[in-house]
């Protein structure tokens, strides 16, 4: 298992180099001169040229990329073209907000969706099951940013129960953003748990367990559920990864001070170092989530574990 973990961690390195290379090259296509952006429209061509040389922008693109990577390995992501602040410290200040929101919404969606999926499977073809499945189908089709607006409309503007935006009102600030992000995930997790439970509760070992006299609840939770978890974990992993990308929209609606909003602001301001910094951190988080999900398979399924050995 440890060998597999090390192998997977090492395999992440070329992927990360690929991501940074791709994003770096795409951002080279961005119109406008960073030196002109920093100095303003009134700067003379000589001043612009001098700053371009200072910033290394006169070097070939590959040299610039190599320099960026060397600095990145030292934790230096450069300075913002707009605020002149260090990208690394700005990203470090914003990342905890995105991470906390992602974790809260993941916890909410998992805690609600898995029991719903199990009950829907056990009570297959009843009103409960049908209602859950219709709701989950609507849930996966509902854009998170629209859901966010509707939540704000009802719970903040009409009822006045929760804050419209920001992260400075403690747990109350987390309620609407986490529901907005979590609802779509909840729907996907509930659907997968239901279909995977439907398969496992019909297996011989569950029938055997029941025939030995254990209660229905123990047969479902003790025997069927652990074996139905693998597809659920896959979907949870995919959804968690989606939380990172989806945060861009929800954070914009709720003016949440996280990385998603920072990247939108940076794109609008054409702040290339900030965009690169955000992309690197978000893509690394995405890759780490995928790695954790793969490792969880090993813990849940001994057959997968034996493949690692």
């Amino acid at each position: 298992m440890i060998r597999y973990m090390i192998k997977r961690l090492l395999a992440m390195i070329p992927v990360l180099i690929g991501i940074t290379f791709l994003v770096f090259m795409i951002m080279q296509l961005a119109p406008g001169d960073p030196a002109r952006l920093i100095l303003g429209e009134n700067a003379s061509p000589e001043e612009v040229k001098e700053l371009r040389e200072q910033m290394g922008l006169e070097d070939p693109v590959l040299v610039q990329y190599f320099r960026y990577m060397v600095n990145l390995c030292k934790g230096d992501m450069g300075k913002s073209y707009i605020t002149n602040r260090l990208v690394a410290s700005e990203v470090a200040a914003r990342f905890p907000y995105t991470l906390k929101l992602a974790l809260v919404s993941a916890a909410v969606s998992i805690l609600i969706a898995i029991p719903l999926g199990i009950i829907a499977a056990v009570k297959q073809n009843t009103i409960f099951d049908n209602t859950c499945m219709v709701l989950s189908l609507v849930g996966i089709s509902m854009p998170a940013f629209w859901m966010a607006l509707m939540l704000v409309l009802v719970f903040s503007l009409r009822l006045g129960w929760l804050p419209v935006q920001g992260a400075n009102m403690g747990w109350r600030s987390y309620v609407l953003p986490s529901i907005a992000i979590g609802f779509m995930n909840m729907a996907a997790i509930a659907r997968t748990t239901r279909s995977s439970m439907l398969e496992t509760i019909r297996q011989d070992y569950v029938r055997t367990a029941k025939s030995k006299g254990i209660s229905n609840a123990s047969a479902i939770l003790g025997h069927a559920f652990p074996n139905a978890l693998i597809p659920t974990v896959t979907v949870v992993g995919v959804q968690l990864g989606g939380l990172i990308g989806g945060a861009v929209l929800t954070e914009t609606v709720f003016a949440w001070p996280g990385l998603g909003r920072l990247i939108v602001q940076s794109v609008n301001a054409r702040d290339v170092p900030m965009i690169l910094g955000c992309m690197v951190v978000m893509s690394v988080s995405f890759s780490v989530i995928n790695l954790v999900v793969d490792l969880l398979y090993g813990l849940l399924d001994p057959r997968v574990k034996s493949m690692y050995a």
Binding site: M27, W146, L149, M150, M279
Partner: protein, 297 residues
């Protein structure tokens, strides 16, 4: 024996159906998929006939300030008017064209590029497969919406770049799906037979392999359009997609957001349009998956 074989082929049993017919019948027996198909047919027809229903210049773009922010009513504007007095229904109808064209084109682009790469990876294997798959690993490690945002940031916000960005972000998914499908039929006897009579690689892939693994590709195509509708709306909502005054559902939602407190219909109605379309595509995609799944045959 030979005679017998030929006779059996020439005279199929009565009532037997081709695989396509069987799948079609299975699709028609799925109520959700039929509902999705009906909705999408109406939507596509509306988008095609948008110019016949509402004139673009006078009813969709032209401002009419005295009629601004009128709520929905049966007598005046059915879905109300926006902050510039333009009819919301007219903008939704023309917006459907924009959303569908951008989404459809981006998925076709992704299928063309991703499908070619996937087919090459699956068919040739070895080094080519390795290079293409490592490239898709990199692309898949970037959240799709973020990747599209970066491309739009670099190229500028307009409809063409939005289509390119959305298409590029879906390429790895099609590459994976097509590769997996090609791998399942690559070793089939009919492929070997085609190769042994000297067919070129392109012919083998296009005429013998792809037609036999089209099921998963169709399903993925439908589901990716749903995702593209979402992303088109999302990027326009962030101001990085279709630029005003051109109507697009995400853009309508973004401009309605400013007035959400007093004129909530401006936010509710475009959102419902996006959601219903995605729902219809998901229903159709699920139905197609069930209809084309060989395990159910």
């Amino acid at each position: 024996m030979m005679k017998h074989l030929f006779r059996r082929r020439a005279e199929p049993e009565e009532g037997s159906m081709s695989l396509l017919q069987e799948s079609w019948m299975r699709l028609l027996s799925n109520k959700g998929a039929v509902a999705g198909m009906v909705f999408l047919t109406i939507l596509v027809l509306t988008a095609i006939c948008a110019d016949l229903i509402y004139d673009y210049e006078t009813e969709v773009i032209m401002q009419d300030i005295p009629s601004r922010l009128q709520p929905p009513s049966l007598k005046g504007h059915l879905l109300g008017t926006d902050e510039y007095g333009r009819d919301l229904l007219a903008r939704l109808v023309h917006g459907s064209r924009m959303s569908l064209v951008v989404s459809f084109s981006s998925v076709v682009l992704a299928l063309a590029v991703g499908g070619t790469l996937g087919a090459m990876a699956g068919y040739f294997g070895g080094v080519i497969d390795n290079i293409i798959m490592r490239l898709t690993d990199v692309l898949l490690a970037i959240p799709m919406t973020l990747f599209a945002i970066v491309i739009v940031a670099a190229l500028g916000a307009n409809t063409t770049n939005l289509t390119l960005a959305l298409g590029a972000s879906s390429i790895p998914i099609f590459a994976r799906v097509v590769r997996a499908s090609v791998l399942t039929v690559r070793q089939a006897e009919y492929v070997e037979a085609a190769r042994s009579i000297g067919a070129k690689h392109g012919t083998v892939i296009l005429r013998h392999i792809l037609p036999n693994c089209i099921g998963p590709i169709i399903v993925q195509f439908t589901l990716r359009i749903a995702q593209a509708i979402y992303n088109t709306a999302a990027l326009s909502f962030l101001g990085m997609g279709v630029q005003p005054p051109a109507p697009e559902w995400g853009g309508l939602l973004a401009s309605g957001r400013t007035y959400i407190r007093d004129y909530s219909y401006l936010s509710i109605i475009p959102g419902l349009a996006i959601m219903s379309t995605i729902l219809a595509l998901n229903l159709l995609g699920d139905g197609l998956r069930d209809a084309l799944d060989p395990r159910l045959k």
